[in-house]
Amino acid sequence: MHIAEGFLPPAHAVAWGVASAPFVVHGVRSLTREVREHPESTLLIGASGAFTFVLSALKLPSVTGSCSHPTGTGLGAVLFRPPVMAVLGTITLLFQALLLAHGGLTTLGANVFSMAIVGPWAGYGIYRLLRRFDVPLMVAVFFAAFVADLSTYCVTSVQLALAFPDPSSGFLGALGKFGSIFAVTQIPLAVSEGLLTVLVMRLLVQSSRGELTRLGVFLTKARPRTGATGRADAADAADAADVTGTTDTTGTTDTTGAVAR
C-alpha cells in the first residue's frame, strides 16, 4: 500500500497530508493522555506498535502472483482505539520512508491516511459492531484485523485512481486497475493478518487479562459506564469465564450472569 516517493502529484500529496495531520495530532494527544493516566499501558502500546512493525515488514506471496504485506494495525485499534494507531502507524511509515525508500515523505500523508487512519477506524468499527451483537471476542478480533488490512489497500487504490484516472475509462477504470493490483492480492494476506492477530490476542488474554479488562476488551458495549447495565456486566462475566479455565467456574460465572441478566 506504500505509494512510492514522488508518485502522487503535488496537489494530491498536499491534500492527503492536510487530511491526515489532524488525526495524527489528535492521536499524539490521546497517546500522551493514555500514557500519563495509565503508565502501565506503555508496555502494551509498545507491543502494539511492535506488532505493526513486524507485520508491515513481512512481504508475503499472494494468489495473484505478486507480493504484499499486512499492516498490523487492527490489534492496536482494538486495544487502544484508532487514534493511538494513527501515531504508531505513522512512526512505522516514517521508518520505512526514511530508511527503506519504501513509501516516501511526499506520499506520507496519503499512506498515513490509508494505513494509520482508515484501516484502524474501519477495523475498530467492525469490531465494535460485532461485539454489540455478542459475537465472540476472537471472531470480532479476526474481522477487525481483516477489515483494517483490506480497507487500507482499498483506500490506496482509491488514492491512486483519483490521482491517475484512466484516459479512456476514467476514475472507475483506474480504480479497477489499482484495485486488482492491491485489493485482490490483499485478501489472503488479510486472512493471514486476522489469524496472526487472533494468535497475539489469545496470548494477551492468557498473559495480560487484567490489563485487557481495564481496556474494556471483554465488554460488549462501547464505553464502560459507571453502573453499567446488567446486560453488559453479564456479557463481561461470560467473557471472563470464556478465557478462564475449568468447567465448574464457567458454570458459576454463567449463573451469576443469568442473575444479573
Binding site: 513486524v54 505478486s66 487472533v198 494468535l199 498473559s207
Partner: protein, 158 residues
C-alpha cells in the same frame, strides 16, 4: 502439548500455508517477473496510464542494493519481534513470580487481590465480582490458569 498450544500452532500453520501455497502452486508463473511487490506493480500501472508522469521527488536515502534493503527490512521485523518477545517474556515472568509469591503465602483467596482485574470501580454488582474472583482463583488452584485459558473459548467456537 496442551490443547491451547495446539490451537496456536494450528493458527501459525494456516498462516504459513497461506504464504507457501501461492509459491507451491506456481501462481506467479504467468508473469514475466513472478512475485514482485504490489507497490512496484502499481508504479508500473501508473506509467501505463500516464506514460509522461515523472516522479517529482526522490527518496532522501535509498538502500544501495537489494541486500542492504533486505537487511533493513529484517532489522525492522527484528525490532518489532524483539519488543513483542520482551513484552510476553516479562508478562510471563511476572505472572510466575506472582503465583510463586501466592503459593508461599498460601491460599487461592489471596490470588483475587493481585490477579483480579483492576476494574473494581466498574463492578456494580457484588455477585459479578464474586464470580470473577472465583474463576481466577479456580484457574490458579488447578495450576493451569493460562493454558486452560482459551480451551473453553475454543470449545465454544468449535
Amino acid at each position: 502439548m496442551s490443547r491451547n498450544a495446539k490451537i496456536n500452532a494450528l493458527l501459525l500453520l494456516v498462516v504459513a500455508a497461506l504464504a507457501v501455497l501461492p509459491l507451491a502452486l506456481g501462481l506467479g508463473d504467468h508473469k514475466k517477473e513472478p512475485f514482485t511487490g504490489s507497490d512496484s506493480e502499481a508504479e508500473t500501472a501508473i506509467t501505463e496510464i500516464e506514460p509522461d508522469y515523472e516522479p517529482w521527488f526522490s527518496p532522501l536515502y535509498e538502500p544501495p542494493s537489494g541486500e542492504i534493503e533486505s537487511a533493513l527490512f529484517a532489522l525492522q521485523a527484528a525490532l518489532g519481534a524483539g519488543v513483542l518477545a520482551y513484552y510476553f517474556g516479562l508478562r510471563r515472568g511476572r505472572r510466575q513470580g506472582e503465583l510463586r509469591a501466592l503459593a508461599d503465602r498460601g491460599g487461592p483467596d489471596a490470588a483475587t487481590d493481585t490477579s483480579a482485574p483492576d476494574d473494581s470501580s466498574r463492578d456494580s454488582s457484588g455477585n459479578h465480582s464474586t464470580g470473577r474472583g472465583e474463576s481466577v482463583g479456580g484457574g490458579i488452584g488447578s495450576g493451569s490458569g493460562g493454558s486452560g485459558g482459551a480451551d473453553a473459548s475454543a470449545v465454544r467456537r468449535a
